[in-house]
């Protein structure tokens, strides 16, 4: 889901851009240092490949079809750092050439799809990508990648005060889940075809040895995704409850002062308040990603 300009409030898009910019910088430096010397043309052409692959339709339900998003596939083939760079390049072209997704919102879209989408897509593969569980890990990666990106986008929209009635929210989550399952299956089928064509293209996963680390990491990713999904759905449940109890016309407040649900009440009202609440939320999300990135890099160099 590419968020256009005009939907996100300043604290949300600016905060996410502040998180994305340094992380993409780290990924670019890491990808550039990767061993193969043909990295530059490879990453460029693989970005074009993502566009081409998205033209191939897969039937989802009567009348609708889905396509590959690609974050998990790129992570399993090029490695996470290069996949982040390629997906960022794809999003930049979509925004600058096709007006698909905004320019101010680019930081948010990169955060959702290039950073979290790739990391969530790679994590299961990294943890269980060796041996018998590989296929399951690949499919799970595809699923998590799309699910995490989409729920994040929805959460950011809600943080910006976009009204989404509960029924619509659950419907959206259902559609995301369908797409996420499809992504998992497509990623797995493509990885299997690549196995036959050229096994060397699928990266060997250099997972941590300890089962405890694996379990904790896996559980925290699952919890994060489920938590996000519930968090983006639940506040509306609360809204409705409040309405039914006749406490207030919450939706009006939500529009007037975005983030009212998240406001710190002791701050003076207005912009500053919104900014503080938004930044706090975003920093938390950023800290989580930074922690994962740190963990990944420590593993690498160890």
């Amino acid at each position: 889901m590419h968020i256009p300009d005009g939907f996100l409030t300043v604290p949300v898009w600016a905060g996410l851009a502040a998180v994305s910019v340094p992380l993409v910088g780290v990924a670019a430096r890491r990808a550039q240092g990767e061993a193969e010397e043909n990295r530059i043309p490879l990453l460029g052409v693989m970005g074009a490949f993502v566009f081409g692959a998205q033209m191939v339709n897969f039937p989802l339900a009567p009348g609708t079809s889905g396509h590959l998003f690609g974050g998990a596939l790129l992570a399993c083939t090029l490695g996470p750092a290069s996949a982040v760079v390629v997906m960022t390049a794809v999003l930049a072209i979509q925004a600058l050439v096709f007006q698909d997704g905004g320019v101010l919102a680019l930081g948010a879209n990169v955060f959702n799809m290039a950073l979290v989408g790739v990391v969530a897509g790679y994590l299961p593969y990294w943890l269980w990508g060796q041996g018998a569980g590989r296929d399951l890990a690949v499919a799970t990666g595809g699923f998590l990648s799309v699910m995490a990106s989409a729920t994040l986008a929805l959460t950011e929209l809600r943080l910006s005060g976009v009204v989404i009635p509960p029924a619509a929210l659950w419907l959206a989550l259902g559609v995301f889940a369908l797409n996420a399952v499809a992504e998992g299956l497509i990623t797995l089928l493509v990885v299997r075809s690549l196995d036959r064509l050229h096994p060397g293209w699928i990266r060997r996963a250099d997972a941590p040895r300890s089962a405890a680390v694996k379990t904790v990491l896996g559980a925290s990713v699952a919890l994060a995704v489920i938590g996000l999904a519930v968090a983006s759905a639940a506040p509306d449940g609360l809204d409705r409850l409040a309405e039914e109890l006749g406490i207030s016309d919450r939706s009006r407040i939500l529009w007037e002062t975005p983030l009212s649900d998240y406001q710190a009440r002791f701050l003076p009202p207005g912009w500053l308040q919104q900014a503080a609440a938004g930044l706090a939320g975003i920093s938390l999300a950023g800290a989580c990603v930074a922690a994962v990135a740190k963990l990944l890099s420590r593993r690498r160099s160890a």
Partner: protein, 236 residues
Amino acid sequence: MRHLVLEDWSRKESWLHARDPRAKLMAAVALLLAIGTSPAGSPSRLAGYALLLLAGVIIADLPVRGVWLRACVVLPFAGVFGVLAWLAGEPGRAAAVGVKSYLSAWTLVLLAATTPLPALLRGLASFGVPRFLLIVIQLLYRYLFVIAEQAHHMRLAAASRGGGFRLRSRQGWRAGAGAVATLFARSHARAEAIHRAMLARGYRGEFPLASPPRFGLGDALLSLWASAAAAALRLA
């Protein structure tokens, strides 16, 4: 392909086309900021932005209706959330968000229609975007059409064999995945060939990225004037 129109526009010659990509980037960001932070319920302010953009389109000698149509790409997204807000009993707000995202898309169309992508990338380079990323974007853009065409031919071939990838069956999914894998393999081979062609011309890991020309008086005027107009409208 629909984006080719935009590329043709971006190679026209006008005062706006001739401006430095950095100036146009600054002007566009100023406008986007003003539009994005405008509170809902101020139709005259939104009309002001629209007039500003219209002036840009006319200075750039672009077809007005064509630009309007291009900016409609945001309408599906804005429409969904507009309807939701409407259902929630906020028709005014729904319209405001729709108009704001439409005006933002219009700004982006104007930027893309007056600045070829390579020039835009040069501008971004001088704003500190990592060169490595910009070179990847530049190569992506170079091979976008080539590989999309390849995918298109594969789709045609599959369709003419009677199924296409829309087959509502397990075979359909297999065939689709096979097509994606084939496209992956061809892209890999192409990257290899491009790398060889680069090496053959003395490439040693330093990829040239041309630097933008001198930032002139006209460029300074454009960025100042656009930012001032946007700020004046926003704060009025």
